[in-house]
Point group: C2
Chain length 394, copies 2
């Protein structure tokens, strides 16, 4: 049988993520290629306790259908955290629950993009966003991401010439680069966008994961009416529950709610209840400090090992998050490093899929949140062997 | 602020579902307007037990990311049930887990529909499907639904002239009508489609809910290579977990998997594990018999009361499912019945939104699964008062 699929399917970029999962599932391979939080840092006891309480006190409600916007007390908790932690005047009416922040990418593109519309992204940009947006067949414009945020001259040119519906960025510990925007660049971006019709989509998956535990001011602080933030419990509590949210002006949430309802009626209610119970009976800040202490240590270890063993490889030095990006010596291709690495039982993620307009062949993304310290030591040593071997062959 | 949304948003039909939820949430109103399974029939104890076991034995895995296709043992369970219950040669490779069968509607439309493509539906047709499909801006063709299934002459004409990507139907206890296709019509539909390029999308949300507990042969049995079935645990176990599935040929699952990953990476893993544990430690057939005994009784009660108190109202007589459809006396509008009903504390669902091409003003959908027997008695008595009052005013 052959089927006549929609054009958007033919144009979808080939996904690396499935290939990654199969590598990640091979226990003999040390993988820096994935994007998982540390399994050992999931507070299974705390979540089990919260789950027990919900099942004992509230099971009939939690297992029935609910409203599309999500569990109100959970939305209130999220809004309250924006108020106290970041000084943003959030209310529950501006919060909609989704299935992890990946669903935000899909639904946001769905409400904004006609075929051929322009959207902006960082270069390199987040692969999950590229995959979600591409299905709506936009023109993706990219703005180079420097160490302190987007190149401002290029960003201004993009805004002036593209008439884009939105710019999608990750100001905190960006995926894949691990870079964080400076405060000056956040303000400058807000100033440039203020006079335009372009919305800023601020993906804040990693904002809670700064190693110094200090929040950075979101772009939304400087551009409240034209900025949406997406957030997620995946990196700070548990990804398997698939609960994230969007924080957006009511004018955007109205159509967003329509497409969310058409997409799956509402997000898993049981897990919304469990999360709310967990959050109101446990110290989230203390839990996050535990995570960032560990991630900070792993990141420093990986950077030190790279500096020691691969001085010819340059890399970003993240302030938080789960990833860093490395640039290979001249003439060494990341695809070769991937292929040779798998043979030597170490997996890295070649950078090309993060470059929608080509390039990135000399870059790799390395994840430091999932592997433990021993795996990082062994894995970087294997990687050093692979890269030195390829340099030697030149 | 005004935002420039995509054209698909401007064309989305105004949703009744949110309005319904607000009516459903008013405890003084007896609602036949919703579509909820009976809360008291959710096996909260069994689910709590399964949840406890998963959290004790498997929490770290269940709370981490997983693959897009879903938990393999759950997919194997679903495939096995197709084999034993319906004699379909299903394998786990043909099953993909989604967030309730509503997500199938969205993702299936996404892989098949270009703007302006044709899709077919029953008339009246399921509102959730109309809402999901409309966002891909197709032409929706409708085929009248008779008591024993679609009008075959019209169906044949539709297939011959529309070149539709797919026809979407609910052969078992259709929503909104409560009608079930005869075996002859299932075969005839398969015969008509076999020579065409049109896929049959068989929504089987209610196939387990026949009051006689006997399965009907799915259309897929007669058209295996060109038919997909969607199913859901929402009606037989619990809707709040949002776990459903699609059963489809591999050629369709490949792009389906791509758009599922872009939509939300994967469905809630914790609830996939809980459901699998529940299904393998409890007697699902016995649980379903308990549900269908209750629903069968409620349906008969509602039909008897309508016959007694509103002989001027005709209605369908379902063999299963959760809904029946009634036709009002000449000149009585369902919108008036809704408005007057809410005043008298009884809510019904006007039929118009189920008719994409207009019509249905004299029809209402009544749900019998959610209200208990006392509510059905009181509610139908109130409804009889409302309709008699409107007839009297004529």
């Amino acid at each position: 049988m052959s089927f006549h699929f929609a054009d958007r399917i033919k144009r979808a970029p080939e996904s690396f993520l499935s290939e990654l999962f199969s590598v990640s599932n091979n226990p003999s391979i040390i993988s820096f290629a994935g994007g998982l939080p540390s399994t050992s840092l999931i507070d299974t006891e705390g979540i089990a306790q919260a789950t027990r309480q919900v099942m004992e006190e509230d099971a009939r409600i939690a297992l029935q259908y609910t409203t599309t916007d999500g569990y109100l007390p959970l939305r209130e908790y999220i809004a309250d955290r924006y108020r106290t932690r970041l000084g943003l005047p959030a209310t529950a009416e501006e919060i909609q629950i989704v299935n992890g922040s990946q669903q935000c990418l899909d639904l946001f593109a769905k409400i904004f993009l006609n075929t051929g519309d322009h959207v902006g992204m960082e270069r390199p940009g987040y692969l999950g966003a590229i995959e979600a947006f591409s299905l709506y067949e936009p023109v993706i414009d990219t703005v180079p991401l420097d160490d302190d945020g987007p190149d401002l001259a290029k960003f201004e040119q993009f805004v002036r010439t593209s008439n884009a519906k939105f710019f999608y960025g990750i100001p905190n510990s960006q995926n894949p680069s691990g870079r964080t925007y400076s405060q000056e660049k956040r303000k400058a971006i807000a100033d440039i966008l203020r006079k335009s019709d372009t919305v800023f989509y601020e993906d804040d998956a990693f904002g809670e994961l700064f190693f110094d535990s200090k929040p950075r001011p979101p772009v939304k602080k400087y551009l409240p009416e034209k900025c949406v933030i997406s957030g997620s419990f995946s990196k700070i509590i548990a990804p398997g529950m698939r609960i994230g949210w969007i924080y957006a002006p009511p004018e955007i949430l109205a159509p967003f709610n329509v497409v969310k309802q058409a997409a799956d009626l509402h997000s898993n209610f049981l897990c919304q209840k469990i999360l709310h119970r967990y959050l109101t009976t446990h110290d989230l800040d203390e839990h996050i400090r535990r995570i960032t202490r560990v991630y900070g240590g792993k990141c420093r270890l990986m950077c030190d090992l790279l500096n020691d063993q691969l001085p010819q490889v340059s890399h970003t030095t993240p302030e938080g998050g789960m990833f860093l990006m490395a640039t290979l010596p001249p003439g060494i291709s990341s695809r070769r490093v991937f292929d040779e690495g798998v043979k030597k039982k170490v997996a890295v993620l070649p950078g090309m899929p993060f470059y929608t307009d080509g390039g990135g062949e000399d870059t790799i993304r390395l994840n430091f949140s999932y592997p433990d310290e021993e795996m990082i030591k062994t894995g970087i040593s294997r990687l050093a062997g692979v890269i030195k071997g390829l340099v030697h062959q030149q």
